[in-house]
């Protein structure tokens, strides 16, 4: 069925949007760029990196932006005339052109380290990804856990205290994971057993966690830093050979334990969810708990286990903040990462790989924001600091089409 309206909707509007983006690139960036100035992008994370060093990328600023603007307009025209099938590709092209021209504009006459930014994108994405994975695993079983932020905060504190007291980072890691599991178990108990509104329970956990960690922090951690709050961090582990690959090596294979664990978890969870009996049951419970129940699946058990495992993942995320990053606990140090993780989960369509990918987008925004501050763009730093939050909102409004949550998400199951 081809009606006139379907033509308008599917081709014309996106095409116009793309062309306007192209013009914006021209107006915002190209005009404000001096001719003959270049932008230099570093392609080595640092001189001391194990990776094979490669030359920096030098782009003539004005020409580069003109090319990107033209490419964008070209794609817009193509979209209007012929239509481009993949929405993902469309958005990719537009986003890439815009970000790239922005970078070239901001870097004109200066240089900045591109690979470094990618590397910190991954690191910045790690706690977000862990929060998102926690969300994926519990929401696939239809339990919304908005208390991830608080769970991470409590785990972060538990990790640093136990690691400091035991002088063993691995003890801290285990304690963090257990703490996360425990908090999640509480949440699960509240929402499954007592049918507390899932979001309300999560918010309560967040408020409680903020109060409790601040209380413990001011009562004990600050007074006896060496006794409780000085754990050290997991070292960077370079994977032999792989870390020598230019660009990819330093980004992917020179990281700390928590980052590797996160990448591993993404793969494991993806396989578990879609290729194992447990995953099948989890998804069934999230989509149609009654159907699962009639097939003899214990809906409550599946939910408990998933929420608790999710909590343990969030616990690992909490560990990242302290023993994975800075070796000490400070009040409200999670700074909203748990919530951004939830947005990443939604953007990633409740898939582990998707959630990880969208976490990377947030990590990228965040490290880009830092780089922009360092480069001294005329945008006030306060506005640059808003970037990750604004991106979260844009992503949530579903520019890429509305993601469908698991059908029973957030609904308590009533067993008769």
């Amino acid at each position: 069925m081809k009606t006139k309206t379907s033509f308008t909707r599917s081709r014309l509007i996106p095409g116009i949007v793309i062309i306007v983006t192209g013009l914006l690139i021209f107006l915002l960036f190209a005009i404000n760029t001096q001719p003959q100035v270049t932008s230099r992008f570093g392609m080595n994370i640092s001189a001391s990196s194990e990776a094979i060093q490669i030359p920096d990328l030098v782009v003539p600023a004005q020409t580069g932006i003109y090319v990107l603007a033209l490419v964008t307009v070209f794609f817009g025209a193509w979209q209007m005339a012929r239509g481009i099938r993949s929405t993902g590709a469309l958005i990719g092209i537009v986003a890439f052109s815009f970000v790239a021209s922005f970078l070239i504009w901001a870097t004109q006459g200066k240089s900045f380290n591109m690979v470094g930014m990618l590397s910190s994108s991954l690191v910045r994405a790690t706690p977000i990804a862990l929060a998102a994975l926690c969300g994926v695993i519990s929401e696939r079983a239809a339990v919304v856990n908005i208390g991830i932020e608080g769970t991470m905060l409590l785990s972060a504190q538990a990790a640093v205290i136990s690691a400091t007291v035991s002088h063993n980072l691995y003890v801290g890691l285990v304690v963090a994971i257990l703490t996360g599991g425990l908090v999640a178990a509480f949440h699960a108990f509240m929402v499954i057993r007592f049918k507390v509104n899932q979001i309300v329970s999560g918010v309560a956990i967040n408020i409680f966690a903020t109060g409790a960690t601040s209380f413990i922090s001011s009562r004990y951690l600050e007074k006896h830093t060496d006794l409780f709050n000085n754990s050290g961090t997991f070292p960077i582990i370079s994977i032999p050979l792989l870390s020598k690959i230019p660009i990819l090596g330093p980004v992917l294979f020179e990281n700390s334990l928590v980052v590797y664990l996160t990448m591993l978890l993404v793969v494991v969870l993806q396989v578990v969810l879609f290729y194992t009996p447990w995953g099948l049951r989890t998804r069934a419970v999230g989509e149609h708990p009654k159907a699962a129940d009639t097939l003899g699946i214990d809906v409550f058990f599946v939910r408990y286990v998933n929420v608790i495992i999710g909590g343990m993942i969030a616990g690992l995320g909490g560990a990242y903040f302290t023993i994975g990053s800075v070796g000490r606990f400070d009040e409200v140090m999670t700074a909203g990462k748990g919530f951004i993780g939830l947005a990443a989960m939604i953007f990633g369509k409740w898939n582990p790989v998707g959630a990880f990918t969208s976490s990377l987008i947030f990590g990228f925004t965040d490290s880009l924001q830092v780089k922009m501050q360092i480069l001294g763009t005329p945008i006030p730093s306060e506005f640059l600091l808003m970037a990750p939050y604004i991106v979260t909102m844009i992503v949530l409004t579903g520019i890429v089409g509305r993601a469908m949550p698991p059908a029973a998400d957030g609904e308590p199951y009533e067993k008769q």
């Binding site: 922090s217 050290g232 001294g376």
Partner: protein, 360 residues
């Protein structure tokens, strides 16, 4: 049900009685500190001021207490609480308490006040006294404690410029507020002075006095932000970082320690001591001895030598300074040490000035 309510009301009455008669009035000299929003454990000026009170407790036998402010309206309330307890000296921390401190001081001339990072008179032409500003003249019972931190930061900048191997040094702040940016301005000035003296071209990342903007973490809490900022600075080629963001800076120290790619310069206190876990990477610290200033104020108040006005702590009296090099003593060349000393002397005798002095 009735029982529960009855029990509750009993509890209320009981505790009322208990506290009503249990109020012990000691004759000790009482010091009360009102923090600003950072709270007592901000690892910055609130903590430093409290250290001064604690030292006074130990050495002068006074009793000290603090009240944390969670919002703007708590300032007046907390000061009032201390007034109600007949506190002898009230130490308020931070410029945000400026107006409330002045009001309370004017209304309670018997009570002594000390305010950190602020001083009276603080009014400008056309400002309404008691509203826009605290007072248009000195207040006899308030001692303002201010610090020429930029002088110390200047020396740190000079030192950093001399120590950098990459030709780039960096600084960042928590929020874009004057007590933070004064460090960054001084630091930049020091580097520029070094360049001027040596004809070098050491770059400062993270602050630009002309634009009055630079790199900020946006908070004083997220140590992870400190980590990522340091990583980014290192990627851009900086190897010495001055973080002016309370505990956030410790995240930077952590990453330097982990990678060995960078050094940090501590702020407020000597991080070699207060953050000993990172002592291998602490080149020096920009000292802002609030604790000493507060201790002095307590001492004077107790001795009866307290006088209102301003006590400005400068490089001259050692109220601001840079910390010893400790482990880096051997790594800093004798020549550079001498130059830093010379700059310090020049600052003391006034032959050298720093731009961006803390405005009044």
């Amino acid at each position: 049900m009735k029982k529960i309510f009855a029990f509750l009301s009993l509890l209320v009455v009981a505790s009322m009685l208990l506290t009503a008669c249990g109020g012990t009035t000691s004759s000790a000299f009482k010091v009360g500190q009102v923090t600003d929003l950072g709270g007592i454990d901000d690892k910055s000026f609130n903590a430093s001021a409290w250290l001064g009170v604690e030292n006074a407790q130990k050495e002068l036998g006074v009793t000290g207490k603090y009240l944390e402010s969670q919002g703007q309206s708590d300032y007046a309330k907390n000061i009032q609480q201390f007034l109600d307890e007949d506190t002898n000296l009230i130490v308020t921390v931070g410029f945000l308490l400026g107006v409330d401190t002045a009001k309370a001081a004017l209304a309670n001339p018997e009570t002594k006040f000390a305010i950190v990072d602020y001083a009276y008179p603080d009014c400008w032409p056309g400002a309404a006294v008691g509203k826009d500003c605290g007072s248009d003249k000195e207040i006899a019972n308030v001692l303002g404690l201010t610090f020429q931190t930029d002088q110390a930061a200047f020396l740190a900048g000079y030192l950093a410029a001399g120590m950098t191997k990459t030709g780039k040094v960096a600084t960042y702040g928590g929020l874009n507020i004057p007590t933070v940016t004064i460090f960054m301005k001084g630091f930049e000035a020091g580097v520029k002075y070094y360049n001027q003296q040596k004809g070098t071209n050491v770059e400062v990342l993270g602050w630009n006095t002309a634009a009055a903007d630079g790199v900020f973490a946006g908070n004083f809490e997220s140590t992870d932000d400190g980590r990522s900022l340091a990583e980014s600075f290192v990627q851009e080629g900086a190897d010495i970082i001055l973080p002016v963001a309370g505990p956030v800076g410790l995240g930077s120290a952590a990453v330097c320690k982990e990678t060995g790619n960078c050094l940090v310069i501590g702020v407020d206190a000597d991080w070699y001591e207060t953050a000993a876990e990172y002592k291998d990477v602490v080149l020096t610290s920009v000292l802002k001895k609030i604790n000493v200033a507060v201790y002095d104020a307590v001492k004077r108040a107790k001795d009866g030598t307290f006088k209102g006005g301003v006590a400005t702590y400068t490089i001259k009296d050692g109220g601001v300074d840079i910390a010893p090099y400790h482990d880096f003593d051997s790594k800093v060349s004798a020549e550079l040490k001498a130059e830093v000393e010379a700059a310090k002397k020049a600052l003391i005798d006034g032959s050298l000035t720093v731009d961006g002095v803390l405005a009044k």
